[in-house]
Symmetry: C2
């Protein structure tokens, strides 16, 4: 059997070609232009149509997409059908997708989850994982990822205010809980990839620059998924600190891109998916260029 | 608007009446008797039929059920349809169900998740949550739970070997990471319930008895979901240490109950759902009685 190209190598290549933008398709039904939402048979289908327009409009700008499953679960089975179709659409266009599912469970269960998200209806390129229960909740994903050419980003240091509650606790070696996670992930990053990063990377929120610089330096072998751009407050300068040599991660923006049409001058009722996704394209382009500029 | 009875009060009542057994419906397709699996149109339907038989056979023994979503996600949309129908079936029988989904995400996303699992296709009584990202990932669930009469169990100290990696790290006040989680949960447990426990409880694995006794003493206001009975190695004596005054939690067993038929003398091919669920009933009864005995 031929071993497939690791997803992290494909993502590294995509970043080199297109820049650092990860478009987050956290597509709540109320983010779809109202006229289009009304036309659709249900919210799941409305979201799927808008997603397709967004993907078509940003394919040459987005290094990858991130799909937050909560926004689809909220719509029940119809929503998860739209989720499945969105993943298929992105992969059909030869782009890459991160399933933001933040799973974390005992080994037997992790194996089931890995099968669920690395094959079948919900097949993706990358997942996000939660490390709380320990490395035996991560390892079953790694063995599946190795044979399937898949990847993962493990929650390490997020940028929400609550991160101070547990991630940021000081442990008795003087480091913090999130360092303990990062250290374990570094130990995993031994498999040879073309790009030099480990198969599994880390989720690192845009944060104070001094801390970000320290994190980037301490974990040179981890490719980062950086959320919090735009709507969550992080900017290009913050993100740039986390991008080693200009290619050490992708930066996600969701609402600021997919709801950009809401800030346009048009009467909301006249906006269709084509126009809304043009707004998204411009927002993504602007973000890409801001990050590029910040990296100079 | 009438405030609904908190789910934790209903569960406390169910434990008082029926005992401590939580039947885990982690129903992989290969756990269904082969003849029944063959008859079904797809694995999702096979699992749903077997679940219904299991529920019917254990209604008077099980204080509640726990449904691990990974086993359903593995089967894609058909599996999640079976998941949704399983929840509906349990709730239709006026029993209680814990959705073992271990979600944990930023506040905006948590709100979406809470809507997804406290209403609609996936409506449940309790969820399990992962605290890694901090209390702002828990609080949106709490406000939804208060108005909806729902509950949650937050991962605190699990029993898998990997728990030592992060949960068990010593923090600089001499306690462990899991204590930091428990302390925050205790602070939340101020809402008056009839049973005296907080709306949100904790997941505590069957563990060394000395540590278990300490945990039970330090967190008298938390109702426990105790996994790891049977297939995962924990026994009645271990569980009993975590059950304050005989009613401070439920004890989950999954495989040891729902695959009990595989240890029977019958030719596998002749086993149907009725017989398999009789085996499950006996296993659940035995477990209930063992725990009752251990509590004496």
């Amino acid at each position: 059997m031929v071993t497939p190209v690791p997803a992290v190598d494909l993502l590294f290549e995509a970043v080199a070609q297109k820049g650092h933008v990860c478009v987050g398709l956290d597509t709540a039904a109320e983010y779809v232009p109202p006229a289009e939402r009304e036309k659709a048979r249900n919210d799941g289908e409305a979201v799927l149509s808008y997603n397709k327009a967004l993907i078509d409009a940003t394919l040459d700008i987005a290094a990858c997409y991130k799909v937050q499953i909560a926004y689809y679960e909220e719509m029940g089975i119809a929503g998860l059908t739209a989720y499945s179709q969105t993943l298929k659409y992105i992969r059909g266009k030869k782009s890459l997708v991160i399933s933001d599912i933040k799973r974390g469970d005992i080994a037997d269960t992790a194996k089931r989850y890995a099968k669920a998200h690395f094959s079948g209806d919900f097949e993706t390129d990358f997942v996000t994982l939660n490390p709380y229960m320990g490395m035996d909740s991560i390892m079953p994903w790694l063995s599946e990822a190795e044979t399937g050419g898949k990847g993962a980003f493990i929650l390490m240091r997020t940028s929400n205010p609550g991160m101070k509650d547990f991630e940021y606790l000081e442990i008795n070696n003087g480091k913090r809980v999130y360092n303990a996670v990062g250290d374990k992930l570094s130990n995993l990053a031994t498999k040879r990839t073309k790009c030099g990063y480990g198969l599994f990377g880390a989720v690192i929120g845009c944060t104070e620059r001094e801390e970000a610089a320290k994190i980037r330096k301490e974990y040179p072998d981890l490719f980062f998924l950086i959320p919090g751009y735009g709507a969550q407050g992080g900017g290009a300068q913050d993100a740039a600190v986390l991008l080693k040599d200009g290619n050490g991660g992708v930066v996600n923006a969701s609402r600021s891109v997919i709801t950009a049409w809401q800030k346009g001058k048009e009467d909301e009722k006249t906006v269709n998916n084509a126009l809304a996704s043009e707004y998204a394209r411009h927002a993504a382009e602007k973000m890409r260029d801001e990050i590029k500029e910040a990296l100079k």
